[in-house]
Amino acid sequence: MDQFTLNLLVVGATFALYVGIAIWARAGSTAEFYAAGQGVHPVLNGMATGADWMSAASFISMAGIIAMSAAGGYVQSAYLMGWTGGYVLLALLLAPYLRKFGKFTVPEFIGDRFYSNGARLMAVICLIVISVTYVIGQMRGVGVTFSRFLEVSTDTGLYIGAAIVFAYAVFGGMKGITYTQVAQYIVLIIAYTIPAIFISLSLTGSFLPQLGLIGGYAPQGGDITLLGKLDEVLRELGFTAYTADTTGMFNMILFTMSLMIGTAGLPHVIIRFFTVPKVADARSSAGWALVFIALLYTVAPAVGAMARLNLTTTFWPSAATGNALSGEAVALSDIESNPSLSWINTWRQTGLLAYNDRNGDGRIQYFNDAPLQAVNTAVANATTAFTDARTAAGLAATTDLTAEEAIQVNGEVNANLQTLQAALQTALDARAARFAEVTYGGRTVAELGWVGNELTRVDNDIMVLANPEIARLPGWVIALVAAGGLAAALSTAAGLLLAISSAISHDLIKGTLNPGISEKGELLAARISMTFAIALATWLGLNPPGFAAQVVALAFGLAAATIFPALMMGIFSKRVTKEGAILGMLVGLVFTSVYIFLYLGWFFIPGTAVYANTTANHFFGISPLSIGTVGAALNFIVAYVVSMVTKAPPQDVVDLVESIRIPKGAGKAQAH
């Protein structure tokens, strides 16, 4: 059976399973649609939360971000700590109280606690901005996975994905989504861990990737640790060591914090805790969610380190058992003929990987050429200027630009060409001087005969998607990774779409526009808004606004700066007033988005950024990714100060706060 048929079978089988679950778990009431009837077992809810939470970014991109980081793999630990530490905040500070509150949506709590429809509306706006930006990335993930593994266009893949989500989200609501997510979790965790176990066995002899990461490097008999080996190989090739310390500790702290607070403030994650039967279950359910998330998150850094080492030893075969530079780089003829290297050209066709034999030696040298980039660019620019001037003067292409004839027009020396040739010569001399000075493994670039890095592109996503092929695992594992990537993207998309549709049907329509709507009418409104949300997400997926990673920054930054502080103050303070909460959210929203827009462009429109997005330009070295922490702090301060000078909340609100602090008497959620 060929790989394509296998992929089709495995992905088709998982899709049939999801649709089957959707038919079995149709929602009959708004309670079932919004909160799965509050009857989901904490362990199952934890699994569903895991799938809901782990998006295409966690499954496909995260290990690669850690593996390929230019500043070393350690610095990217912020993702690992940030995206798990948020669950501690959820379990301790939010989940049990919001479950006790016993209603369906995040804006509903904010509206009731801050006794104002304005606060509720403000929360709806934040929720929709956060969730819509997040859902675009998921839809793209679905499209890309489809196009790579199932040989359809990205757009067709998107339509198929949207149709599947439509089937179980619109009919099943939270109930259908929850049980489908349980199945999706099982698919994605198997798909992620199987390749990791095989690779850990071959590199470290350890069955558990978590132990392999800190284990010995098996191909050298365990005399050197895996991380030590990786550091050594990377340093030899001029890269930053994998375990190198951060050069921006303050920013790393703020970034980790921003991801933690952002996680705890993401509405589609918070609403998961409305689905469990009791307050005590909300506490433990956060723990179960983290158990299932940790299964992937503790494997991911091992996948990252091992994939980076595998990639490097693929291009420097002698690095597998010794020094990279004691042997030659991989030969082009080998890449074409050796079946164990066929993945390189497979992925080259997708554009996610690119190589270019710049020095024409028939081998691909992979190294960090940052020290050579300036002189190479200078030579390239000088060459272009010179050849352009020659073309303008009507001269034919010449192979030797440094020759005397190269500046002659009709036998006469041309002054302009002469100047440009001199400039080229200066650039060439500077490059030669640089090449004689920069060394790799004790030899100069000139001695090695290198020109620059020849593995010109390695997309982060390859580290997970190509993992089974790099490790030469059987075809069904490759098919499973395709199904896993789709499960991760679809489950997150469904959770986000539910958060959006419930904010529209429950908070906007029932809460504000038409409070008298019947339960049947509200259920219909929920389904219609879900359909619109899917259509919008599909359209945005087809026409992405040209930013992928940035939207994640915005979603987390905003969740951290708006929703989390409002919820926390609503629970832990009886004194915070509606004016304080609304102004706090507004300041958090405006400050955070403006800071992000300053560096990434107004509304992400290319070319409108005020400052270049470099560390030197950041205020106090704080990158736009980390600004959510500052936004959250401002939100807390503004809310506190404003509350002190405004009229205290009424007694019924004080009673509400006291009642949510005590588990007794939670019962089922009421539809008012």
């Binding site: 690992l80 700590m81 530490g85 301790l92 800190i214 506490r283 956060a286 008497g665």
Partner: protein, 85 residues
């Protein structure tokens, strides 16, 4: 709901447990994983230094223990104050 002395004591106890938990939460991730890493680089956990291990493995395990411990302690506290469901 009345602000009985028992429910006040329950809430005060809860806040105390939360603060202790948050200190552990901060210490394992921001403390050992980031701020103290350079100072503790000599201590190894297998093939990784302590800070690296806490940043990529240890803090996640600590978070897990922390959440389940909090859930267990709070269930006991709920019963002791008669506020369980």
């Amino acid at each position: 709901m009345s602000t009985s002395s028992s429910s006040k004591a329950y809430w005060a106890a809860n806040i105390r447990i939360i603060i202790i938990s948050m200190i552990i939460w901060f210490a394992c991730s921001f403390g050992l994983g980031i701020i103290l890493r350079p100072a503790l680089s000599g201590i190894m956990v297998g093939g990784a230094d302590l800070g690296f291990w806490f940043a990529q493995q240890g803090s996640i395990y600590t978070f897990l223990i922390l959440i389940f411990a909090y859930a267990k302690i709070m269930n006991n506290l709920d019963r002791a104050h008669g506020v369980e469901e």
